[in-house]
Each structure stands twice: as structure tokens, then as C-alpha cells.
Amino acid sequence: MTGAVEHEGGELATGGGRQLCTFHVGDAWFGVEVTRVQEVVRALQTTPVPLAPAVVSGLANLRGQIVTAIDLRRRLELPDDLGRAATSVVVRTADGAVSLLVDDMGDVVEADPDAFEPPPETMVAAARSLITGAYKLTDRLLLVLDVDAAAAS
């Protein structure tokens, strides 16, 4: 697993592969370790935080727990898609739970470690700091998101 983040979650993965929870942002397909994902919530109402960094979409109430919502579109420097109904991928971080706003959910994918490669040099800077690498799946690339980098506000 060159360059891949090692997680205790590897134990859970069957057949030696990593289980990744996948989602779409813009044209890209991302995956995060399933063990980092607390839950996936549709339409979490957020309260905007004035003066906060632009990537912070707001604060949301997740069953009594206040989570910071990070808009991955803004984080990836993609234009806002006003029409979308963002889905929240709530991930666990050292600083509490953080909701990552994504366009659409994908399946849970079990990826073969042999198919993993570090990120291509040509990727835009905004994306490269967030991506630990890519899995070459048969039909397309699955980008592995660095949860801590993506969730930092």
C-alpha cells in the first residue's frame, strides 16, 4: 500500500482490500475509509457562520451534537451548484464529528491494494493536498480523500 494511509480499519476489510465509502463531488469520484464515516445524512439543515472560512458551510445539529459542515465543492475550488441537494457524509476527526457536503453518494467499494497509486502530479493544487492517492478500478479512478485535510476548517 504505497502512500496509502494505514488505518485500523484495514482489519475489517475482507479479502485484504480496503473498504471505501464513495461519493461524487463534481465530476470526481471520492472514497473515504468506511471506519472514518460515522453516518450519512440527507439534507442536514445548517446555520451559516459569519466570518468563517468559505469552505465552512455552517453548523448543523446532528442529534444534539453540533457538527461543522464543510462544503467539498468549495474545498476543491469547484463552482457552487445551487441546485443540488447536498448529502452529508459525517466523518470522525480528532476535533469531533465533521459533516462533508457532497453531491451524491456512491456504493461502498472494496478496493484492491495493488491497484493503488499516489496522486498524479498534474492534479490541481487544491485537490492534491486533499488526496492521498487513487485506485485504478476497471472503468474509472477512485480518489482516496484525506479525511483530516478535508475536514479541517
Partner: protein
């Protein structure tokens, strides 16, 4: 806590720390009452437990130290040895060594390489020369050395938590340890339950179905009780915090050569854990100060007719949803004159200001940063960091510190702190479609201005005259970078807030209601925003942001110079929360658009006189005023121009009147002809820059403007007339280049 500690070791550490705190306390009690077998037994048991457990866990150094202490204690307990101050000191040193070892175990998972042979030797030495054994408590029933503490305990009224000597024991059966994080989580869930209940109640109130209504009623009651229960679980008696103090007082008193006892009352008063943590340092500091500065040396006390032994008292009690905490000493009381001198010497206030201060205000000077009355810097105090930190820490959690001095009889510090930081009363306001909570501790009053009336601008800064005082207005929308409202200036809701010693009016779209809110911290990335103190979940489940009032004030520039600028309104009589000296100044405008001020007590009246009334007596302009001849001084003419700007006819009003400030100075009346009277402003005894031209005794910042203080006495001495524009005035504080 680094490294993965074994659970058993972790528990051992937690328990031992608690035991050690009690040990400190017990040993000090023992010193004053050496015959207390009960205390002695308690001390013995504690050490015995530590020794037993660390032997089991394989901490041999720790065991050796504890063992030597235990042997000494055994001899004391058996009455073979009398307790002397040396023995107490030796035992306390042992407690310190144990604490040090525990600290090392906590950090590095091993005992380290500290050498304790000297200490062990000392402890052995102390038990050897058994000086004349005290007749002691005649209780031969206790057999020698290795007696089972349980047996010992059985005969006595046990100390609250009965200790077991075996490993891992020692926790009373009726209590368990709970991680605070778990309690926080439970609080969250209960909060959510409350919301669900509220929704359910709304739904069932329309229903007539009685079983459902009854069930939701029951749910309602249970939820409320559950919430209270969880809140209670987070409470800690303040006595936990006091546990360490007797030891501190004892050590400090010995070091200072004083005799001090500490009395504690109300240790069972409960506070939220976070509050307890927040006041730990301020409290310790105040107690140290009381011993070091407050209590006099025994000789001085006897000379003053007081017992040689001084007393530091701690008192805590609940009052009106708050906790009051008093730290008092029966020493000589703070020497107000000395405080004044110190403050002047340290350049914290001007000499004149200091002399004019009331006693109470002068005492408050001790809270200024950089203040210290200690003549010598000791390791105890005198480093000039302290009281200001105490005040800052207490105010940070929404509390207040107040000091009362009885000259010759002592000093009392009183701290008022909220019961909990987790749930606070707050005012909910709306701004740009979202709600914000403002902690009620900062709230002064609410004002509604119809159609923008009552808003004036002072150099572009909006202000409102609130009962004659200028209140700077801060628009929340602007501060938060939110879009301006579409509608023009309709009516305005102003929330008057206190930030430190300043007041300001926060303009919001709408004032909703007051509510008890559960404060939740922001993620670390959002803490940098500065104007937010946290977030909370409202009744409808949405998140509302909690404003940090001081942060907003700082952002708006209201409290940039917190110490120089006054509160716009007297702080409701007593206990001036801002502290420090205030004085009222009459501010007027000079023709070159500058600002000058004279102390209000000097001012007799403000008059508007017709120009025609001005007569000439020799070279002097005078008016007939109340049967007297009042000399007039045209302020603009008497002062040398600084900027050489062309000025219009000073003091001349279009309607042919002049504005006259009638002052009394050095027993004479004089009329100052000014351009325009601006306001009466309260000034804080803050920094004062030296005057930049003759006739001005200094410069201060008032309401954001540099204002010169007019030296009326100097003006009078010069007896200026139109022919003598420049005054040969001695400048008191040096002239700026």
C-alpha cells in the same frame, strides 16, 4: 497522559492523587491537633494503601518511600513518638516525593531514576531518637506496627470513604468514576430528548386522545427530571478545590515566618466541573496573597492587639443562581495609600488622578496589569502578575471580583461566579434571518429607537444619547459582514451590552426572547472567528451562534483601549465592575475642530450669553453675571495654535451668542468661551499623554477622540487677555517635541 497506561495503573494514579490531597489536609490538621487519633489513623491508612498497591504493581521506589513514611506513622500512631514540626515537614516531604513519583509514572510509565535515599534516611532518623514519648492518647488496644488498618477503622467514626487496604480498593461503594465526556454526551442526548418532547407536546396538544396526552405528559416530566439529574452529575463540591489549600497555607506561613490557620466554610457548595477548574488558579493566588501580604508577622500582630496567629477564611455559598466565594484574612488590610503610591510609581495612573480617587477606587488599582505592592520580589508574590490575571480569569467565566478592606482588620475578596458554564441564560436576537444568543451576563438593557431617531454621528461613528451619556452603536450586521437590510432606517432595536468596563449598543434586526441555552464549544477551526463564543441548539432544533460580547466589542473597536476609556454610564453605583477611578469631564470643541475637556467638578454652570453682554474692562473681556463681574477667557485665543490652521471667530455663534463654561478654580470664577459644548463624558483613570502645548495638562482619549485637558488653574494664573495670547504656563508633564 502520554502512552497507553494500563487501566489498573491509571486507576491507581487517580486514586492516589486524591488520597494525597487528603493527606496534605490531614497532616496539617494533625499538626494543630496532634492528639487526633482519628486523623492519624486516616493518614496511616492512606499511606498504607499506596504502599500496598504500588508493591503489587511493582513500583519498588515508590514502595520504599511510602514504607519509610508508614513506619514513622506507625510509631506516631502507637504513641511511641510525638508529632513535631520536623516530623510533619518530613511527612509532607514524603507526600511530595510520592506525588513526584506518581507524576513520573503517569508520564513515562515508570518510576524514573530519582534518588530518594536521603528522604528515606531522614524519615528513618525521625523515628529513631524517639524523644520523650508523649503520654499520648491512652489506647493500648492498638497493637504495634503492622496492624490491620481495617481493625483500626472499625472502632472509629470512619473518614467518609472507607479505605480498603488491598489493591484497587478504596473507592466507596456508593460512588463511581464517570468520564466527563460521557456526561457531556448524555447532556447532548437529553437536550435532543427535550426537543423531541417539545415536538410531541405540540402535536398532542391538538389531539384530544387522552392516553397519548397522558403519555406525553409523563415523558415531559421524566425528561425534565433527567435533565436536572445530568446537570447535577456534573457538579462538584468546591471543597474538592479547597483540599490543597491548607497545605499551601502551612508551607507559605512557615516560609514567611508567620502563623496562619485556614478556616473553610461551605465546602459542600456545588459548582459545575468546568467552573471549578476555571477558578482553581485565581483562588490559589488569592489565598497565597492573603498569607503573604495580608497576614502580618506574629510580632506585628501582637503589637496591634491581635492574636499572634492569623486566620485566612474561605466561605462559599449559593445565592441567586450564583456561587459566592469569599477569601478573607484578618491582617492589616490593604494599605490604600501605599497602593496609590505604587500605582503612581509604576506609572499606572497619574499622581493627580491617584490622589483624587476614592478609597474604593484606589483599592481597585491592584487589579491593574503590572501592579505589585511587594517591596521585594519573592518566589511567592511580587512579580506583578497576579491580581489582573485573577480578575481576567474570573471575568472570563462571567464572574466578578470585588475587594473590601477594613483598615487594620483585614481584607476580603469576594468572587461571584455562575453555577455552571454549560447552561446559561441568554438573550436571543435575530440578524439577517438567523438567530444569535447573547449571554445575559453581559446584557445591560434593551432600547428601541423609533425611525432612527436619537442616532447621532460623531465623526462617522453612530452614537445614541442614552440618558445623557453617549452610547456607541455597533451594527451587528456590519460586524458579522452580513448584507445591509433592504429597508431604510426604520425602528432600531439596540441591545446595550457591557464589555469589560465599556458599554455599547448592539443594533440587531429583532430581539426575540430570553432562553436558557446549552453552550457547546466550536470546532477549533472556528474559534479563530473571534466574535463567537460557541453555539447552541434552539428549541426548534436549529443551531444558533453565541456571540462573544467582548470579541464583538473588540472587532468594532469599542474596547481597543479598555483601560483608558470610560464606561459611558456610571456602573450602577456600587462595585464598579470596571474598577479604577472615573471622573466626569466636560468636553467642548475648539475652533480648529479639536477637543478639550475640563473636570466637571470645576464647572459651575453652562451659559449662553449674548455677544452684546461682553464688555471690556481694561484689556479684559468681562460680563456681568449674577451680580458679579465674570472675566471671560477665550480658550481658542489663549492657547498657542498647534496646527496653524485658520480659525474662525472663536466662540462666536451665528445668533450672536457665546457659549460660556463658568468654572471655579483657586477660589475665583472664570468664564471659558468655547466653540461648542460637546458632552459630559466619564473618564477612566487610564493613561494620560503629556500635554502637547502650554495650557493643556495632558491628552486623553475620550470616545475615540484625542482630547486635551485644559489646565484651568494655569489659565487663571496667566490672567490672559486678548493682548497676551500665549501663556507662560508651566507644563506639568513635559512637552512633546
Amino acid at each position: 497522559m502520554t502512552g497507553e497506561l494500563d487501566d489498573v495503573v491509571r486507576e491507581f494514579l487517580l486514586e492516589s492523587y486524591e488520597n494525597l490531597d487528603r493527606l496534605d489536609r490531614d497532616l496539617v490538621v494533625l499538626e494543630s491537633d496532634p492528639a487526633s487519633r482519628q486523623t492519624l489513623a486516616s493518614v496511616f491508612r492512606t499511606i498504607h494503601t499506596i504502599k500496598g498497591t504500588c508493591g503489587f504493581l511493582g513500583f519498588s521506589r515508590l514502595e520504599a518511600v511510602a514504607h519509610s513514611g508508614e513506619s514513622l506513622l506507625a510509631r506516631l500512631r502507637d504513641g511511641k513518638l510525638a508529632l513535631t514540626p520536623e516530623i510533619t515537614t518530613g511527612l509532607l516531604a514524603m507526600v511530595d516525593a510520592v506525588r513526584e513519583l506518581l507524576g513520573h509514572i503517569e508520564e513515562h510509565d515508570d518510576e524514573g531514576t530519582g534518588d530518594y535515599t536521603a528522604l528515606i534516611g531522614t524519615l528513618r532518623g525521625l523515628q529513631e531518637p524517639a524523644p520523650a514519648p508523649v503520654p499520648g492518647p491512652a489506647d493500648p488496644a492498638t497493637p504495634a506496627a503492622e496492624v490491620d488498618p481495617e481493625a483500626d477503622q472499625a472502632g472509629q467514626e470512619a473518614v467518609p470513604s472507607g479505605r480498603e487496604e488491598s489493591r484497587g480498593g478504596g473507592v466507596s461503594d456508593s460512588t463511581i468514576r464517570v468520564d466527563v465526556a460521557l456526561l457531556d454526551r448524555l447532556m447532548d442526548l437529553v437536550g435532543e430528548l427535550v426537543l423531541a418532547r417539545n415536538q410531541l407536546l405540540r402535536l398532542t396538544s391538538a389531539e384530544q386522545a387522552t392516553t397519548l396526552a397522558a403519555a406525553s405528559q409523563r415523558l415531559n416530566l421524566v425528561t425534565t427530571e433527567l435533565q436536572e439529574g445530568i446537570m447535577k452529575a456534573r457538579m462538584q463540591p468546591i471543597g474538592n478545590l479547597w483540599g490543597k489549600l491548607p497545605r499551601i497555607v502551612r508551607d507559605l506561613a512557615l516560609a514567611c515566618g508567620k502563623q496562619v490557620t485556614i478556616g473553610m466554610d461551605g465546602g459542600e457548595t456545588e459548582l459545575d466541573k468546568t467552573v471549578v477548574e476555571a477558578i482553581r488558579d485565581p483562588l490559589t493566588h488569592l489565598v497565597r496573597n492573603a498569607v503573604d501580604h495580608g497576614i502580618e508577622a506574629p510580632a506585628a500582630r501582637l503589637a496591634a492587639g491581635k492574636p499572634a496567629e492569623g486566620r485566612v477564611g474561605l466561605r462559599a455559598w449559593h445565592e441567586g443562581g450564583q456561587v459566592n466565594l469569599e477569601i478573607s484574612d484578618d491582617g492589616s488590610g490593604i494599605d490604600v495609600e501605599r497602593v496609590r503610591r505604587r500605582a503612581v510609581d509604576h506609572g499606572l495612573v497619574g499622581r493627580e488622578v491617584a490622589e483624587r480617587m476614592s478609597e474604593r477606587d484606589a483599592v481597585d488599582l491592584i487589579f491593574l496589569p503590572g501592579f505589585s505592592t511587594a517591596d521585594q520580589v519573592t518566589n511567592v508574590s511580587g512579580r506583578g502578575v497576579g491580581m489582573d490575571v485573577v480578575r481576567t480569569n474570573v471575568e472570563r467565566i462571567g464572574g466578578r471580583v470585588d475587594v473590601r478592606v477594613l483598615p487594620g482588620a483585614g481584607t476580603t475578596f469576594r468572587i461571584e461566579i455562575p453555577l455552571t458554564l454549560a447552561i446559561i441564560p441568554a438573550l436571543v436576537v435575530a440578524c439577517a434571518g438567523h438567530r444569535y444568543a447573547i449571554p445575559q451576563a453581559s446584557l445591560v438593557e434593551l432600547v428601541r429607537l423609533e425611525d432612527g431617531a436619537g442616532v447621532e454621528t460623531v465623526h462617522g461613528a453612530p452614537v445614541h444619547r442614552l440618558r445623557g451619556r453617549l452610547l456607541p452603536l455597533v451594527h451587528l450586521r456590519q460586524q458579522l459582514g452580513l448584507p445591509e437590510p433592504d429597508a431604510g432606517p426604520g425602528s432600531m432595536d439596540v441591545v446595550v451590552l457591557q464589555a469589560g468596563d465599556r458599554r455599547f449598543g448592539l443594533v440587531v434586526d429583532r430581539v426575540d426572547d430570553t432562553e436558557e441555552i446549552v453552550v457547546k464549544p466550536l470546532s477549533s477551526g472556528l474559534k479563530g472567528v473571534g466574535v463567537l463564543a460557541g453555539a447552541t441548539i434552539m428549541g426548534d432544533g436549529t443551531v444558533a451562534l453565541i456571540l462573544d460580547v467582548v470579541g464583538v466589542a473588540q472587532r468594532a473597536g469599542v474596547v481597543q483601549e479598555a483601560h483608558e476609556r470610560p464606561s459611558s454610564e456610571p456602573a450602577a453605583g456600587t462595585a464598579a465592575p470596571g474598577g479604577g477611578q472615573r471622573r466626569d469631564l466636560l468636553v467642548f470643541q475648539t475652533p480648529d475642530d479639536g477637543r478639550m475637556a475640563v473636570p466637571l467638578p470645576m464647572v459651575d454652570r453652562l451659559e449662553e450669553l449674548p455677544v452684546a453682554a461682553v464688555e471690556l474692562a481694561g484689556q479684559e473681556e468681562v460680563v456681568q453675571y449674577r451680580g458679579d463681574i465674570l472675566p471671560l477667557v477665550r480658550v481658542s485665543a489663549t492657547l498657542p495654535e498647534r496646527r496653524g490652521r485658520p480659525r474662525h471667530d472663536g466662540g462666536q455663534r451665528p445668533e450672536g451668542t457665546i457659549q460660556v463654561v463658568v468654572c471655579t478654580a483657586e477660589g475665583r470664577k472664570v468664564g471659558l468661551v468655547v466653540d461648542r459644548i460637546v458632552d459630559i463624558v466619564e473618564e477612566h483613570a487610564g493613561e494620560q499623554a503629556p500635554g502637547s502645548r502650554p495650557g493643556s495638562s495632558g491628552c486623553i482619549v475620550l470616545d475615540g477622540r484625542v482630547t486635551e485637558l485644559l489646565d484651568v488653574e494655569a489659565l487663571l494664573r496667566g490672567q490672559p487677555g486678548p493682548a497676551a495670547p500665549a501663556l507662560p504656563v508651566p507644563v506639568e508633564e513635559g512637552v512633546h517635541p
